[in-house]
Symmetry: C2
Subunit: 384 residues, 2 copies
C-alpha cells in the first residue's frame, strides 16, 4: 500500500496544503461545495492566510455583490447560500481579489474566457443535467472538410444509446451555440448529452443524432483544440453575423449525411440555436427552405442583418417560400429579462405581419444557460 500512497502524493502535491488544513479540522474531511437538502449550497475554503474570501455564482443577479465567507478558528472560510432552485450553477471563489475555482471542487467548465467551478442542485431540472444510471449516447469529436470555407473544422456529434447496434436512420438535430461559444458549449454549459440521455431514457424524447458544429467560421475549433494553440480566447471574433456559417451549412449537412445514418427528409431534420446560433438557425431554415421541419430559436440575436452576404437578401421572400414548402414547428423562446427581448419582439412582429407561423415561449430570466438548457428540455420532446 505504501508505494501507492507515494504515487498519490506525487500526483497531488498541489492540494496537499489544503488537505493538511483539512486534517487540522479534527480529521473532518473538508468538502466544497455541499448541496444541502433544502437546495442551499455551503462553500468551504481553507485559507488561513487570506484576508477576504468571496463567492460569486450565476444564481446571483448581475448587480449582486459576491457572497462574503466567514472565517473560523481553523482558517476555514464558509458561507451557505439561500435555497436555490434545482439547476446547474457555475461559480467562482475570489481570494483576496483574485477570481478562481473552488479549490475543493474538480468539476469545472470553460465558458468563453472564464473557467468556473460547477455544481448541480438536484430534485428538479438539475436532475436532467446530471449523469444518471441510464443508457448513454456516444459523444464524438470529429473533423469535417468544408469546401465553402476551404477549411477542416472540428465538430461534436451525439449519437443516442443503441445507434451503433442499429441499422435504422435517425432523425438529426443541428444544435448551434452563441457568439461566445464553440462546438463544446452545448456539451459543457448546455449539458446536452445528459439532457438527451435522460429524456430519451424516459421515453420523452425520440432517439436522435445531435450535431454541434462550431459557428465561428474564422477558426477551426474551440480554444485549445485548434492549431492556433493555447491562446487566450478572443471575443468577439470577426466572423459573427457575416453569413459564412449559413452559406457553408450545406457542407455540414452533407458531411453528416455521409458519415451518419440520419434521415434526410425535412420531417427528420431540425436546426436550433441560442443567441447568435438562433440567428443562424433562422437564416439557415429560410435559406434552405423545405429542409427543416423543426426550427428552434433560443434567445435569438435578431437585430443585426448585414447585407454583404446573399444569406441576408430577401429574407421575407425566403420565409414566404419556407411557409409554402411547410414545416411543423418554428419555436421561439426568450426570457422576459433578456436584453434581446425587444429585438425578438420586433422580429416576432415582422413574422406576424408576414403571417409566418411560430410557437412562442416566454420564460422568466435573461440571456442565460439556465434558460437555454431549459428551452432544450422543452423543445426536444416536440421533435420528430
Amino acid at each position: 500500500m505504501r508505494i501507492f500512497t507515494a504515487i498519490i502524493i506525487a500526483a497531488t502535491l498541489t492540494i496537499n496544503a489544503q488537505e493538511r488544513l483539512a486534517e487540522g479540522r479534527a480529521r473532518q474531511a473538508l468538502a466544497s461545495p455541499i448541496v444541502n437538502a433544502d437546495g442551499s449550497i455551503t462553500f468551504n475554503v481553507a485559507a488561513p492566510s487570506a484576508n477576504d474570501v468571496k463567492v460569486w455564482g450565476n444564481w446571483m443577479g448581475q448587480g449582486d455583490k459576491p457572497l462574503s465567507l466567514a472565517k473560523d478558528s481553523d482558517g476555514v472560510w464558509s458561507v451557505r447560500t439561500s435555497a436555490l432552485p434545482s439547476d446547474m450553477y457555475s461559480y467562482s471563489v475570489i481570494v483576496d481579489g483574485v477570481t478562481g475555482l473552488d479549490p475543493l471542487n474538480v468539476y469545472t467548465l470553460r465558458d468563453i474566457a472564464s473557467v468556473t467551478s460547477i455544481v448541480i442542485v438536484p430534485n428538479g431540472k438539475g436532475d436532467d443535467y446530471a449523469v444518471k444510471d441510464v443508457p448513454h449516447g456516444t459523444v464524438s469529436a470529429r473533423w469535417y472538410r468544408t469546401d465553402s470555407l476551404d477549411m477542416t473544422r472540428r465538430i461534436n456529434v451525439y449519437t443516442p444509446a443503441g445507434y451503433e447496434e442499429s441499422d435504422e436512420k435517425y432523425p438529426v438535430l443541428y444544435l448551434l451555440h452563441g457568439m461566445g461559444g464553440d462546438e463544446e458549449a452545448w456539451l459543457t454549459s448546455g449539458r446536452a448529452a445528459q439532457i438527451l440521455d435522460n429524456m430519451i431514457a424516459r421515453g420523452e424524447v425520440k432517439p436522435m443524432v445531435v450535431v454541434m458544429p462550431n459557428g465561428h467560421t474564422s477558426i477551426e475549433a474551440a480554444p485549445g483544440y485548434g492549431s492556433e494553440g493555447m491562446k487566450r480566447p478572443y471575443t468577439p471574433l470577426p466572423d459573427f453575423y457575416n453569413g459564412d456559417m449559413e452559406r457553408s451549412f450545406g457542407d455540414v449537412m452533407r458531411w453528416v449525411e455521409s458519415n451518419y445514418r440520419v434521415r434526410t427528409d425535412a420531417a427528420g431534420t431540425g436546426v436550433a440555436g441560442l443567441s447568435m446560433g438562433g440567428f443562424n438557425a433562422s437564416n439557415i431554415s429560410a435559406n434552405y427552405p423545405g429542409e427543416f421541419d423543426y426550427v428552434g430559436l433560443f434567445s435569438p440575436g435578431m437585430r443585426r442583418t448585414p447585407s454583404k452576404s446573399w444569406v441576408f437578401d430577401n429574407l421575407a421572400s425566403k420565409r414566404k417560400t419556407q411557409s409554402e414548402k411547410g414545416y411543423k414547428l418554428f419555436w421561439i423562446g426568450i426570457g422576459s429579462d433578456d436584453f434581446l427581448y425587444d429585438d425578438v419582439k420586433r422580429y416576432r412582429e415582422t413574422l406576424d405581419s408576414e403571417g409566418f407561423v411560430y410557437e412562442y415561449h416566454e420564460s422568466a430570466g435573461g440571456h442565460t444557460w439556465s434558460n437555454w438548457r431549459d428551452y432544450l428540455r422543452i423543445f426536444l420532446p416536440k421533435l420528430f
Copy 2:
C-alpha cells in the same frame, strides 16, 4: 456591436476585475502564461489586494519551493522561470496560501483530484503535444457492456484521420492509465490524440485505433461522467491490483472488435499502460498469450501480486507460454529517479532468469507524465 458587447459582459463577469486591472496597465493587455523564446515562462497575476503570490509547476522537483512572484506598482505580480525544456507543463498559482489556476489561462486539466493550468513550451517534444495543422483523428467517448463485471462502462476511442472513409481494418492499441487516472487521463495529461495525430501525419506511426478504457473496475466512468455524480474523486479506489481489469479485459476487446474495423491478429494488436496500467498490461499479455504482439510497460507498478484472482496464478508458467506463442515487442520504460525503479529492476531480473525477452528503455526523471508522454512517442513507431 453594442449589444454583443453586452453578451460578453454578461458571460465574463468573473474576469472583469482582472480585466479592469489590465486596462490600468496603460492599456497593455495582461497575459499569462507567456512562453518566451528561450523556453522560459513568464507568469502574470493581477492581484493588488494579495499579500503573497506563488507559482508551483511540475517542471520543479518535489522538494522545490514554489516560485515567489514580485508585485509591481499596478498590483500585477510576475515571475519568469529559467529556460525549460520543450514539454507540456501543469502548474498552480497560489494566492495567499490558496492553490488555484492561473486566472488568465483558460487551459486546464484534471489529474486525479487536482485541477491545474497547463502550458506547452514548443520547439521539441512539446510540439507533439500541441494541436498542429495536420489531419485529426476522431475521439469518441462511448459506453460498453461488460458481462464479467455486470456493468456498463465509459471508454474513449481514438480513430485516426481517414478511418471513417476507409474500408480497411486497422491495428489496435489498448492504452491503460495509472492508479490515479481514468479513461480521460491519456487524452488530457497524456495528449495521446495530439501525439498520434502529429506522428501519424509525419509518417512515423502507423494509423491505428487506440482504445482507452477505465482501469478502475469499481466505477463506471471518470469523475463527473458516471452516475455517482460530482463527488470529489476518491483515491485510492478499492479495486486496484485485484485482477478485475485483467479478467474482464476480454469484454473490452470483444466490444472493440465488434464496434470498430480493427485487426484481431496478434500482429495487429498491442497493449500498453503506465504505472498500474503497466502492471495490467503485463498481466493481460501473460493471461491472453498469443493475442498481443506488442506490449508496453511505462514505469510499471510491479510489486504487488495479490493471490485472490486467477490472473496472478502461475505467472512464470503463463509467460513461458507467452514466449512460446511468440511476440514482437515487450517494451519496458522507466526513469532512473522513479520510486518504482527497484521494483522494475527486480521484475526485469525475474524476466531475465526466465529467459523472457524484452526491450528496456531507461530515461532520466521519475514517475511523471513527462516521461509517459515521451515513452508513448518512443513506443508508437515500433508498432505494427
